[in-house]
């Protein structure tokens, strides 16, 4: 009988060995796949056993994202709380029980959970894990100025639009407000997400979850004349004194392109003889139409690229929450830089198929302010460990030179003229020289306009660059509705 018994023993050993092989498969080979499964209830809990790092404003006091502790059984769980509710909600994002994350909560997750940290903190985390103490993530300190951010949000109110303010010298983003906004605390509430999706604001446009500051593509209209003027001056083809004759239209492809499409001109339809500076000051379309035709679409596109167009602007938020500015194919809605198919005259005054984000337009103003060098925008000032040690500090960088310093100086004078006696007088601040450019783009819907103001101040020593956009303004122009917002934001930023 022993032969049979030996064989049975072999069978039993084979069965048990199969179990070891299968365990190895699930724990070593397939572990990553299992972890990534959406319905993994364990991972849903595990992510909350880590005390996520806090997100602070530039003042180091205002907390955008905090934790609330909850004890369940053997675990202490940490859930996100957003004390400032809708303030910079689209930038901060959220981290929820259902595991979905957005904004900095998503892109900075590795730091916030302490899984991407320096050696000493990694060692502490290991000890904490072994000792079953709570793992603490790294804290973020943003460049956002909470008070001004709040002011910008209030100024936008229920209107759809965005405000972006940044330092032209460093690229630090002071304000990044998108309206309408939402309360990230609601995402995890029953029915909360559906409620958020229904927030529409006065424009009845895209959802509140959408970050208009970085994802919103708007026709830049006359604010794009900054780029056109930069190309005109920088190439040496024109000077601020170059003369033009404005008959009320410019002739392109044998057809008349009328100025009347531009409500910024404040009723004046025909300017007659004028130079580039006053054409810029009063935003005369025919002047820029002629410049565009002289320079060609290719040159305009090249200069736009120098300012950062056609690329996703760098920032610490998730890459899919930022969009590149540039000319978009109207059918496929894809970015295309094929200048051969463009209308240079209309492109020159920011119509045609040009679309830009508020962040990109802030970068344009900042570049002029920064003597022609594009500052690299950033929003995370500093990352600190749970013990307060600095893990990473952002040092200002640039995206290269867009225009010569002389061109920047000439453009500054022209932009100052817009505020002192042109279309942007509403942005005047006593004692502070403001340089700006208005923009009012047709939406194709009667008297509704996209109203822009793109500026920096003080013009003689630039500290802040601001871009304001308001969507679907009924008879509201860049100079009348957006410039006052920019003015208050500049005042608040320079006040401290």
């Amino acid at each position: 009988m022993n032969r049979q018994l030996n064989r049975l023993a072999v069978v039993a050993v084979v069965l048990l060995t199969a179990l070891i092989v299968a365990t190895t498969y699930w724990q070593a080979w397939a572990a990553g796949d299992l972890k990534a499964k959406q319905d993994n209830a364990i991972q849903r809990v595990v992510q909350f056993t880590i005390a996520r790092g806090l997100i602070y404003g530039a003042d180091g006091k205002t907390v955008f994202a905090a934790n609330k502790k909850k004890k369940t059984g053997t675990n202490t769980l940490f859930f996100r709380r957003y004390p400032n509710k809708g303030l910079a909600a689209q930038t901060i994002g959220y981290s929820t029980v259902s595991r979905s994350q957005t904004g900095l909560e998503e892109s900075m997750n590795d730091f916030l959970t302490g899984s991407n940290t320096n050696l000493s903190n990694a060692f502490h985390n290991l000890l904490n894990k072994l000792g079953r103490a709570t793992i603490k993530g790294d804290n973020l300190q943003l460049t956002i100025r909470p008070k001004v951010q709040r002011l910008a949000q209030q100024l936008l109110g229920n209107r759809c639009g965005a405000v972006v303010a940044m330092s032209p010298r460093t690229g630090a983003v002071y304000v990044m407000a998108s309206s309408p906004t939402y309360d990230p605390n609601e995402v995890d509430q029953p029915g909360g997400y559906a409620r958020i999706l229904h927030i529409r604001g006065a424009c009845d446009g895209a959802s509140a979850l959408y970050d208009r500051a970085t994802q919103g593509l708007f026709t830049p209209g006359s604010t794009f004349k900054i780029v056109t003027a930069a190309a005109a001056l920088d190439t040496g083809a024109f000077t601020p004194n170059s003369g033009f004759t404005d008959p009320g239209y410019c002739t392109e492809y044998g057809q008349k392109v009328f100025n009347s499409g531009n409500p910024d001109q404040g009723g004046h339809e025909v300017f007659g003889h004028l130079n580039l500076l006053s054409g810029f000051q009063h935003s005369v379309n025919s002047v820029f139409c002629n410049i565009g035709m002289k320079l060609g679409a290719k040159t305009l596109v090249d200069y736009a690229k120098r300012f950062g167009f056609y690329k996703v602007p760098p920032l610490e938020t998730p890459a899919n929450e930022r969009l590149p500015s540039g000319t978009y194919d109207q059918k496929t809605h894809r970015l295309t830089d094929d200048a051969s198919k463009m209308d240079p005259g209309r492109l020159a005054f920011g119509q045609w198929t040009m679309e830009a984000t508020p962040l990109q337009m802030a970068m344009v103003a900042a570049t002029v302010a920064n003597d022609g060098v594009v500052p690299r925008p950033y929003i995370v000032q500093k990352i600190t460990g749970p013990d307060g040690s600095t893990i990473k500090k952002t040092s200002p960088r640039t995206l290269g030179r867009a225009i010569k310093p002389e061109t920047a100086a000439e453009l500054t004078q022209m932009m100052e003229a817009v505020v002192t006696g042109g279309t942007g007088t509403a942005a005047q601040i006593p004692g502070i020289k403001v340089a700006g450019k208005t923009g009012t783009a047709e939406t194709g819907d009667g008297h509704y306009y996209t109203a822009w103001f793109d500026c920096f101040a003080p013009a003689d020593d630039p500290q802040v660059a601001v871009a304001v956009v308001l969507e679907k303004q009924l008879n509201g122009f860049g100079g009348s509705v957006s410039a006052p917002i920019a003015k208050q934001v500049i005042e608040a930023l320079l006040a401290r």
Partner: protein, 426 residues
């Protein structure tokens, strides 16, 4: 060896204690150690020549189980501890009464056969039986639930050992008449098991039956025919029982990308969120353990609102809990302990002097290994999942008692075999 293994068990209990600051927890370790010493002394007295490895290995497995159950719920650990005490008492009684000659059991083989069937039938009796998790295999007496099938397994093995020892030659010759009692008892057992929807046990009993039949007759054709019959039966059951169809679907496709009908709430959901939820979450638990595990007491078994993620975690799914906390190293180690126990069991069977002893030891050992394979293999998606306990580790009184009886059986057989070898008997 004994000391190291017990020390390991003790240490594992102690480590778990530290995760939860509680004065009483250390008491468990001391108590368990004392209990082990007691069992050891009883064994030394009653069966001095028995295999020295099986008791410490069983103690280690029991300690691992008790530790994990304590970690999952301290009140359950107290009940389990009580069952272990009862198990040790039953173990001691079995050794005492049968230490002279357990082979007298063989004389009552038909009684064991009938006893096995009676035990298997018990849950079907109205008023006494209870259906839990879709299988009717529980008996409710007073405040206690009991799974008589666990003891039925031991009784069936004793019957088969006795009957097959007596009839092995004639069975091998293939005379139909001699198959009668065997087929009747086996058929009844299968019938009862399918009536109770307890597929895991059906598979286990059938596997033990085929293994012992093969050991006794050396006829591989019997095994082939038996397996063929089983497959035919399985297909029939698959066609006829929605419960079984669901299990197979969960096994083959636990994750669906389209929504399917969920039987429990009648709505369309993904299968992983309905029928295969338990299996899938159990795999997540194992996967979360990774190579080194989360550490005892540091695993995650509750969702954010404090509810238990995996149902039946401390009974059928205790392997998923252990694999998460101990990791691949610990889980593979645990399986190796089962393997060592199995190999010792077969060694005992090989050295046994008579056919009844050989068949008894082999049946008990193969049953032990097969039961481990059925539940752990089910959890790991090697085979379809059927609910059954992990021997000595899972929470459950009936399982503990039956496995201590199994241990007693192996020790009695090895004691006799070694005595015969030393005394020059035969």
């Amino acid at each position: 060896m004994v000391g190291i293994l017990t020390g390991l068990g003790f240490a594992s209990v102690y480590i778990a204690d530290k995760s939860r600051i509680s004065g009483g927890s250390l008491g468990y370790a001391v108590f368990f150690f004392a209990l082990y010493i007691a069992a050891h002394l009883i064994a030394r007295y009653a069966v001095p020549l028995a295999d020295p490895y099986v008791l410490p290995i069983a103690a280690l497995l029991t300690a691992i189980g008790l530790t994990e159950i304590y970690r999952l719920g301290p009140t359950d650990a107290f009940r389990q501890g009580t069952w272990v005490v009862i198990g040790v008492v039953v173990f001691a009684l079995a050794l005492f009464f049968l230490r002279r000659d357990y082979r007298t059991l063989e004389n009552y083989k038909y009684l064991w056969g009938l006893g096995a069937i009676a035990l298997l039938f018990m849950p079907l009796l109205p008023g006494l039986g209870e259906t839990i998790n879709g299988a009717r295999l529980w008996v409710h007496v007073g405040g206690y639930q009991f799974q008589p099938g666990e003891l039925g397994k031991i009784a069936l093995i004793i019957f088969l050992a006795g009957y097959l020892r007596e009839k092995r030659e004639v069975l091998a010759a293939g005379r139909l008449k001699d198959w009668g009692p065997l087929l009747v008892i086996w058929g009844a057992a299968m019938l009862v098991l399918f009536a109770t929807d307890d597929l895991g046990s059906a598979l286990l009993y059938y596997g033990i039956f085929l293994a012992m039949l093969y050991a006794a007759t050396a006829r591989i054709t019997f095994v082939a025919v038996g397996l063929g019959l089983f497959l035919a039966g399985a297909v029939a059951v698959y066609q006829g029982t929605p419960h079984v169809r669901e299990r197979v679907a969960n096994w083959l496709h636990p994750w669906t990308t389209t929504k399917v009908l969920c039987a429990t709430n009648g709505q369309l959901t993904y299968r992983q969120e309905c029928a295969s939820y338990q299996e899938v979450q159990s795999l997540y638990s194992i996967g979360h353990g990774g190579f080194g595990g989360t550490g005892l007491g540091a695993g995650t078994f509750q969702n954010a609102s404090g509810g238990q993620i995996i149902p039946a975690l401390k009974t059928d799914f205790i392997y998923s809990a252990l694999a998460q906390e101990l990791g691949l190293i610990g889980a593979a180690g645990l399986l190796l302990v089962y393997m060592v126990f199995t190999l010792r069991g077969f060694r005992i069977s090989l050295f046994a002097g008579d056919g009844f002893s050989k068949l008894l030891a082999a049946g008990l050992t193969f049953g032990f290994a097969l039961q481990t394979f059925i539940i752990v293999g089910g959890i790991l998606r090697v085979i379809p999942l059927t609910g059954i306990t992990l021997p000595l580790v899972s929470y459950g009184g009936s399982s503990i008692i039956s496995n201590f009886l199994l241990l007693a059986g192996l020790m009695l057989v090895s004691n006799r075999a070694n005595a015969e070898l030393q005394g020059g008997l035969r």
